[in-house]
């Protein structure tokens, strides 16, 4: 049982992530009166990229060789730690601390930024600069939103959080909602979604995330894309299992599949929400984004203050 849970935790995020991207694109296309591609298309895209030969820039260093693996491995590690099937404790549970999760994400962002600067083209540096600016401002909101819940439950362990949040009195739901709003804005920012970035743009001057991986090709590009999809799924699973905690307090073999089903439903609902939000907003001016991020920060701070007192 323990072993099966570990296998599920490790494999869930990489396997389901491209499906989430496919669903997002399909919904955005439907909102534009288009038919859109099949929801399994990202899988085919990844397979296609893995089979291609690779072209490296002659100015690239070891960073370009190593960073795709570091980024992807960070995402797998986070995926193994987050509460997918939280009621079943396993040896990894004690490591499922939200500070660890945030730090691993920063590690991935750091290596992405290095990758953008590595080849020395004009656009990668721009993308890295923008990404670091946004990351610096986003982390505060993300951290405070988790901190406020951690104070309510008196633990920073994500597994503990997801199990005990469902038992909180309804007077704490205001804190939960504020924290969720702060978390949601951080979700959009960290995953390069609207209004922060256009994930499907072809204009290099406007890219934030794609500009950093502009020199990657073949299998390394596939790893970057897969890691980006995994990051989105990780955030959605965190949102689903921590802020919408119903459906977790069960245990046993049959309820394992039930728990996964419930999780998938919640994930689907959140994906639809993200996709619809993306279709209805435009990209904000770059120097207006700090306003939005400081909103997230203030919401997290208010939630934290309410949790303390």
């Amino acid at each position: 049982m323990n072993f099966a849970v570990i296998i599920i935790q490790v494999l869930f995020v990489p396997l389901v992530a491209p499906l989430i991207i496919g669903v997002t694109r399909r919904i955005k296309a439907a909102m534009q009166n288009r038919r859109g591609a099949d929801i399994f298309q990202p899988y085919r895209d990844l397979i296609k990229l893995f089979r291609k030969a690779e072209v490296l820039s002659e100015d690239a260093t070891t960073i370009s060789l190593v960073s795709p693996y570091v980024v992807f491995a960070s995402m797998i590690t986070i995926g193994a730690l987050i509460p997918i099937v939280p009621f079943a404790g396993n040896i990894l549970s004690s490591y499922a601390d939200f500070i660890v999760v945030i730090s691993l994400m920063i590690l991935a962002t750091f290596f992405l930024a290095l990758n953008g600067l590595d080849a020395g083209n004009a656009f990668g540096g721009l993308g890295s600069s923008r990404e670091m600016t946004l990351a610096a401002l986003t982390e505060a909101g993300l951290f405070f939103s988790f901190m406020s819940i951690a104070l309510l439950v008196q633990s920073t362990n994500l597994i503990t959080l997801s199990i005990h949040i469902g038992t909180l009195p309804s007077s704490d739901w205001l804190i939960l909602s504020l924290a969720f709003l702060a978390f949601f804005i951080a979700l959009l920012a960290e995953n390069a979604r609207y209004p922060f970035d256009n994930p499907s743009t072809h204009l290099e001057l406007t890219m934030v995330h794609e500009a950093m991986i502009i020199e990657a090709s073949g299998p390394r590009l596939a790893l970057f894309e897969w890691a980006a999809a995994s990051k989105l799924l990780i955030f959605i699973v965190l949102g689903a299992n921590i802020f919408i905690p119903w459906g977790i307090i069960i245990s046993g073999w049959q309820s394992l599949s039930l728990a996964i089903l419930v999780l998938l439903c919640k994930v689907f609902v959140l994906t639809v929400a993200v996709a619809m939000l993306e279709s209805m907003t435009a990209k904000l001016r770059f120097f207006r984004l700090p306003d939005l991020l400081s909103t997230s920060f203030m919401l997290g701070l208010i939630a934290l203050a309410l949790a303390i007192f």
Binding site: A53, E58, A60, T77, S128, F287, I308
Partner: protein
């Protein structure tokens, strides 16, 4: 610089051991047990250093990360075989790249500087030189200057220095070069001392 980086790495990976060291130091100052060192307190609630603080086994986490990294690399190597990698020029949109086209460190930080401008208080100005100064249609050269205002000097040290200087200026009135006034100071001091010695009760 290197020692700072090493210290950051050490504290990050071996945080648990380092925290135990710090707690022991704090305990020797505070004379209470390890489990109840208060960090902050709000009335009856407070943050205390409990037993599990920084207790995560960081090296194990680092090993986990490296395990996944190696696993990814091995699986990719096994499935895809040895990859053909060709080296070509960096993407330059069809125009040869010069060293000026890479982002500079000032430019990298510029966005964050702009966002925190009220705190950082930098000033940037653009100077344009025209070939026809009266109509200003043909530009001959342009330059951008960036200067930082030193906040600490401007808002902290200089006001304090000003206060002290003004006090000192007042005091300098004593020193005005008249020998006669200096002899008067000596006389006044002597008389005051004598009076004080006489008035004071004999101990």
């Amino acid at each position: 610089m290197g020692s700072l980086a090493f210290a950051a790495l050490f504290l990050g990976v071996y945080g648990a051991a380092a925290t135990r060291l710090f707690v022991r130091i704090a305990e020797s100052v505070n004379q209470s047990s390890i489990a109840q060192i208060p960090i902050m307190s709000f009335g009856n609630m407070g943050f205390t250093v409990r037993n599990g603080f920084a207790g995560l086994n960081m090296p194990a986490l680092f090993l986990l990360l490296s395990f996944f990294l190696l696993a990814t690399w091995l699986i990719m190597r096994a499935v895809l075989g040895k990859q053909r990698i060709s080296k070509k020029i960096t993407w330059d949109c069809g125009f040869p790249l010069t060293p000026r086209m890479e982002i500079t460190s000032t430019a990298f930080a510029y966005s964050l500087m702009t966002i925190f401008r009220p705190i950082l208080t930098y000033a940037d100005s653009t100077k344009t030189v025209y070939q026809d100064p009266n109509l200003r249609h043909f530009v001959s050269s342009q330059s951008v200057h960036l200067h930082l205002v030193d906040m600490y000097m401007k808002y902290f040290y200089f006001p304090i220095a000003r206060v002290f200087c003004s006090i000192a200026r007042q005091m300098s009135r004593i020193q005005n070069g008249y020998i006669n006034l200096y002899i008067l100071y000596v006389l006044v001091t002597l008389v005051a001392l004598l009076a004080w010695a006489l008035i004071l009760p004999q101990s």
